[in-house]
């Protein structure tokens, strides 16, 4: 089981992640954020195979696909 983690302050709503997902696990949220971007959201993450294509193609480093045993953490923020 995988989790679709979106950083809404990085995402610009280009939709490429939705386009590349081979399983249609994510979809557009239909909501416009404060900067005018239409952000994606999960549709059905039970379909997700963890291929991470959405994470790789994201132009804004806004997506992380976490597996349940994921140890990935928030990056070190510079002082």
């Amino acid at each position: 089981m995988y989790t679709f983690c979106l950083n809404p302050s990085y995402c610009k709503g280009c939709g490429i992640c939705i386009e590349v997902c081979p399983k249609s696990a994510i979809k557009s949220s239909g909501r416009i954020d404060a900067k005018g971007h239409e952000l994606p959201e999960e549709q059905d993450m039970t379909r997700c195979t963890g291929c991470k294509l959405c994470e790789i193609v994201c132009p804004d480093f806004a997506i992380a696909i976490a597996s349940e045993e994921s140890t990935e953490e928030v990056p070190n923020e510079e002082k």
Binding site: Y10, I16, E55, I56, P59, F61, N76, E78
Partner: protein
């Protein structure tokens, strides 16, 4: 909502003393961010597998949208330099310290127009650098003007009546000029791009990798639409019929073994410093 973050953020300066540096300055759906993502995946793999010190990696760029990738985002040594001159600057860095692993981000205007002369000579000289050219077929930063890679007939702000010039094939140019490693992919080919960039960085000598990219803003088209189009207009280099019909070939065009500038010059240094020399 999970707190997991993109794995490549470990290579980016998300935060600086004067405030946050991300999100990237690029427009929504810009392919340059994707190329950065692919490149960092390649570097990540190399750091994991090759035992190269991270501090030896240096990213250099010129001016233009693609060059914004080194404008203070990277947790690496980097230089955001002069329009067209990044390859000459990379040359200087390698003359000073040949152990550096130089990755140059450039665009089609930066590499082929204002930097065209430096580009062909960098390919000819064969210093150990990886040139990643993000080709969106126009000048994005200044408003979508015609570039040396713009298709014949296209209208742009500076070709309002249509472009009368034929575009450069940058890979053929690089190969003819002598670069030992030349390849092309698009932003819509992420896994192939990562594999090729990894190979390019590992290549001893000048590696030229062209990534065809999308500019949704100046093409006035949705990113996803352009992303699909990149798949449609390109084919494998092996599909000669489709290429003859006008499709753009993708893949590795050459991968030659030849000694690089530093290795050849090292012989001169050793001769000059040998006890037999004056």
């Amino acid at each position: 909502m999970s707190t997991s973050a993109h794995p490549m953020l470990k290579y980016l300066k998300t935060q600086a003393p004067t405030g946050p540096r991300l999100p990237l300055i690029l427009c929504p759906g810009c392919g340059a961010g994707q190329v950065l993502n692919y490149t960092l995946h390649a570097v990540d793999r190399i750091l994991e597998e090759d035992n190269w010190p991270k501090e030896h990696f240096v990213f250099i760029s010129g001016v233009g949208c693609s060059s914004r990738l080194t404008s203070h985002y990277l947790q690496f040594d980097s230089g955001w330099t002069l329009h067209g001159r990044s390859l000459a600057i990379a040359t200087g860095a390698l003359l000073a310290n040949p152990r550096l692993k130089i990755i140059v981000f450039t665009g089609d205007g930066d590499a082929a127009a204002i930097g065209g002369n430096h580009f062909i000579h960098a390919c000819r000289r064969n210093l150990n650098m990886t040139i990643i050219c993000i080709n969106n077929g126009l000048y994005g930063m200044t408003g979508g003007q015609v570039a040396p890679t713009t298709e014949l007939g296209e209208t742009t702000p500076t070709t309002p009546h249509g472009n009368v010039e034929d575009p450069f094939d940058l890979c053929r140019l690089a190969e003819t000029a002598g670069a030992p490693y030349v390849a092309r992919w698009t932003t819509a080919h992420p896994r192939q791009a990562i594999k090729t960039i990894t190979k390019g960085i590992r290549k001893n000598g000048t590696a030229f990798i062209e990534i065809l990219s999308q500019c949704p803003v100046h093409k006035k088209t949705a990113p996803v639409e352009l992303f699909r189009r990149l798949r449609e207009i390109t084919v494998s280099k092996k599909d000669t019929d489709a290429i003859a019909a006008g499709k753009i070939p993708l893949g590795e065009f050459c991968n030659l073994d030849k000694s690089d500038w530093i290795a050849r010059y090292q012989q001169i240094i050793e001769n000059a410093r040998s006890p037999e020399a004056d």
